[in-house]
Subunit: 180 residues, 2 copies
DNA sequence: TTCCACATGTAACTAGTTACATGATTGA
DNA sequence: TCAATCATGTAACTAGTTACATGTGGAA
């Protein structure tokens, strides 16, 4: 448990975010929204219960941090929490990898459509990559430039590179399809 | 419902596979295992119940196809099933896109580790892409060359291109990290 | 006769999303 | 005073994975 196991998808991102400094649930969920969600989604509804679970497990300690009348808690890692995080970070096994791309599935089955329909799918696939690219370049990347360390920028750049080359691949595939 | 809605992730891949010709659950699950799983996972445990649900919904028709004493069913699309598939394929809205990459999340939080630890994560990230690449090039691609249409090859080539450029990105990032 | 591929199915579990509900603070 | 943002939380739902259970056919 303290060896990095028993941590679900939400727990991993929560622990990692708090490692960089005290955070409350709202801040974590905001940061996820402009950074990890591109490669590690986690929704608000899962974050709050997970914070309490991690506190119960002794990996986090909560502190009351009221804002006027409003309730607010901020969390920090306990030594056990930091150890669990490090164990997970240093784990030798290949990490979980998963991808779901509906337009790619459409393309896979596109024999059912005429060429126009197939081109439309390719364009949509490209549009999706361009949209992600846009969000990374104009949203996430500028936000990370103020304050985030080099690793975080590195990861965003990975995303930018990937979506850019995917979009380029789509452009070429479209040209080939039309040239047939 | 017949407009392409009410179809869950498993239903989409099941319908698409059957559109190309009569199939049984086992065949679908095998084909998923060497093709769509790279961008659209679906597990056996979900496929059989979904086949029955789609039959109940009138999108599939089942036929007994015993193999000696052993029970076997093969499924074909009904006209309603083909209409639902076409509606989904021709849907204008951007498709669902999701990615989960644990080693990328590790890299994101790698400030917690020393440079050696960071390099190890980058190598693992690369190894993951190379493993996918290997499976696509040596497993999926050759299998698809016998029998699969051009769209299927196209999709596998997309995967190959993507993982190859991701692996290349990792190699460069590692060099930069060591050069610091 | 043994093993592997073929073939189907279910139950239990785990996880995660969406939507809703509530209320305080801040700035325009 | 109004809207947006901050902040926390829960309930209902949907989905999906894993593991188990069972048995046949064909090849070596």
């Amino acid at each position: 448990m303290a060896t990095g196991r028993g941590l679900n998808n939400t727990a991993l991102v929560v622990l990692g975010m708090i490692a960089a400094g005290r955070r409350n649930g709202y801040e974590i969920s905001r940061t996820v929204g402009v950074s990890t969600r591109f490669f590690w989604p986690a929704s608000v509804g899962g974050i709050y219960p997970e914070l309490r679970r991690l506190e119960d497990a002794g990996l986090l300690e909560a502190e009351d941090d009221p804002r006027g009348e409003a309730i607010r808690h901020s969390y920090a890692l306990t030594p056990a929490g930091r150890a669990a995080l490090r164990d997970w970070l240093a784990d030798d096994a290949l990490g979980h990898f998963e991808m779901r791309n509906e337009d790619l599935l459409r393309l896979f089955f596109a024999a059912e459509l005429d060429v126009d329909g197939q081109v439309a799918i390719l364009r949509k696939l490209r549009a999706g990559h361009e949209a992600q690219l846009e969000q990374l370049e104009s949203g996430a990347r500028p936000a990370a430039e103020r304050g985030a360390g080099p690793n975080r920028l590195l990861v965003l750049d990975y995303g930018i590179a990937l979506h850019r080359s995917a979009a380029e691949w789509c452009r070429q595939a479209e040209a080939r399809l039309l040239g047939r």
